[in-house]
Amino acid sequence: MTAMPSTELRANRWDIRPGRIIAWTILLIGGLIMITPLLFMFSTSLKTAGQVYDLRLIPAAPTFDNYIKVLGDGRFMRWFFNSTFIALTVTISNVFFDSLVGYTLAKFEFRGRYFIFLAILSTLMIPTEMLVIPWYLMSSQLGWLDSYWGIMFPGMMTAFGTFLMKQFFETVPNDFLEAARVDGLNEFTIWWKIAMPMVVPAISALAIFTFLGNWTAFFWPLIVTTSKELYTLPVGLSSFAVEQSIKWEMIMTGAALATIPTLLVFLVLQRFIVRGVMLAGLKG
């Protein structure tokens, strides 16, 4: 299924079969323990209020009533749409701008290049928590409160993404670019049509991270939105949970709804996602 791990080569040389089986078993059990919270979450979402106290994993009489109730008023669909729209937009913006800046910093020689690079890198040290109050003020003065733009603007470009793309662009051989220049293509086209296709793994890694990070973002969306219609899924779920006043079966249903989309995407794109994470880690 996946490429054979390099450590396998050395493992083959050993013959501690029993040890390997034990390790495998423990790993499997550990993995199952890891997802126990998720299993219970799903299982509780299928229970009625009275059954919540029955702590069995498999519900005695599973029912989809909770899901019907929760999805019925359209709130979750709205929140799901919001989260997706925002995450997509921010991801596209990051892929575009972070690559552009990373490319420029990697492939162009000009005075001030190192300074700009350091300046952008230094923003990594500034925690968003510190910027939240000025952002809030800025948004309230410019009318960005309680709007999609208000939620999105802080994350449209990131230093992490820029740094990542720069690292990858540095591995792109200059010959291709020079040849394109000789052919008379302008710089933008060179970047878009020649350089970008050569770093597709990096782009996909960046896209995955950015999408995931924005889809699960909680702190800033919590602060900047006031209308229920604009909540992202995590914020909406939180308000839903508080509102449900400890009706656990409903809260678990909400949590499940918030989790199912990413789980599905993962199951489909597992290989890409894992590869993307590995890539980012190696170059980070």
């Binding site: 450590t7 300046a119 040290m125 470009m157 779920l237 939180s238």
Partner: protein, 310 residues
């Protein structure tokens, strides 16, 4: 030369043609960078300065801001709650980072050698990483409830172990809140460690084996040292994450935020409450400056400690 004929793109006629290749390239570079520079300046740098400035005022949204010098900081350092919060924040770091790194390394090490159902087991460990911290906060909160609805206490009860207060104990609360955070981050760290492990050329291992080194020695002398860049990355990355913990605490303690008796309150929650429940923006800004300083100091310290000793 062919470069004299600029086709397509910004055709500004004679003026453009007069620039040298180098200059044209520089202009392109700055054009590309124009909007991003504006963005970083306006969204990152200016607000940082603003935060520092605000921390020196007493602004509370209602009255105009007055410059009060370092009064906010004096107030903060004299407040016992602040020191409790400071301690909590470091506890999250000091417990969270080692535990998650050791766990994830061990799992990555053995998982890497598994071939049968590798993808499935890997998925089991990675799934929690994809979840929303807010949602999982609620799931774990329910997990920790006392009998009769809490799963963990129910399990303890059936094993004859005494029920644990978890979120209702000033001693257990912080680790209790930390567990979902560690749980969610493991998948990411495991994958990164595995990538690092696979990057080690097998020749090293073969040479070591020929030299007759045992498995434990190989681990100590070859694997771990060669994993250093990966480890450094993960240490810094996860430290920053734990120092900034918020989502889980907020959602697990909604009826007594940061409680009980401030046992779980990290700095970010304190900032949030000061700014958005008490609307003391100046004081909150001062707290964010302290957070920034902590993050900077810890990161620099870690990088220094783990620097390449050449």
């Amino acid at each position: 030369m062919a470069s004299d004929s600029i086709t397509g793109g910004a055709a500004q006629g004679r003026l453009w043609d007069r620039f040298s290749i180098k200059t044209k390239r520089v202009i392109w570079a700055w054009t590309f960078l124009a909007l991003p520079i504006l963005f970083y300046a306006g969204i990152r740098f200016y607000p940082t300065l603003q935060a520092f400035w605000l921390s020196l005022t007493d602004w509370d949204l209602l009255r105009p801001a007055n410059f009060i010098g370092l009064a906010n900081y004096q107030k903060m350092f004299a407040d016992p709650v602040f020191w409790k919060v400071f301690q909590n924040t470091f506890l999250y770091l000091v417990i969270g980072t080692p535990v998650s790194l050791v766990l994830s390394f061990v799992i990555a090490f053995y998982l890497d050698r598994v071939r049968f159902m590798h993808g499935f087991i890997r998925a089991l460990y990675f799934l929690p990483f994809l979840t929303t911290a807010a949602a999982m906060g609620w799931v774990w909160r329910w997990f920790y409830q006392p009998v009769p609805i809490g799963v963990i206490n129910g399990l303890l009860g059936s094993l004859g172990i005494e029920q644990q207060p978890f979120l209702r104990s000033t001693v257990q609360a912080l680790p209790t809140v930390l567990v979902p955070a560690i749980w969610a981050g493991l998948g990411f760290q495991i994958i990164i460690f595995m990538a690092g492990l696979r990057a080690i050329p097998s020749t090293f291992y073969e040479a070591a084996r020929i030299d007759g080194l045992g498995e434990w020695a190989i681990l100590r002398k070859i694997t771990i040292p060669l994993l250093k860049p990966t480890t450094v990355f993960l240490v810094v990355f996860s430290s920053i994450g734990f120092l900034r913990i918020f989502d889980q605490v907020y959602n697990m303690t909604t009826n007594d935020p940061g409680g009980p008796l401030n046992a779980t309150k990290p700095l970010v929650l304190m900032i949030y409450q000061t700014a958005f429940s008490s609307y003391q923006m100046g004081y909150a800004a001062a707290q964010t400056v302290v957070l920034f300083s902590i993050l900077l100091a810890v990161s620099l310290f870690q990088l220094w400690i783990m620097r390449e000793k050449k």
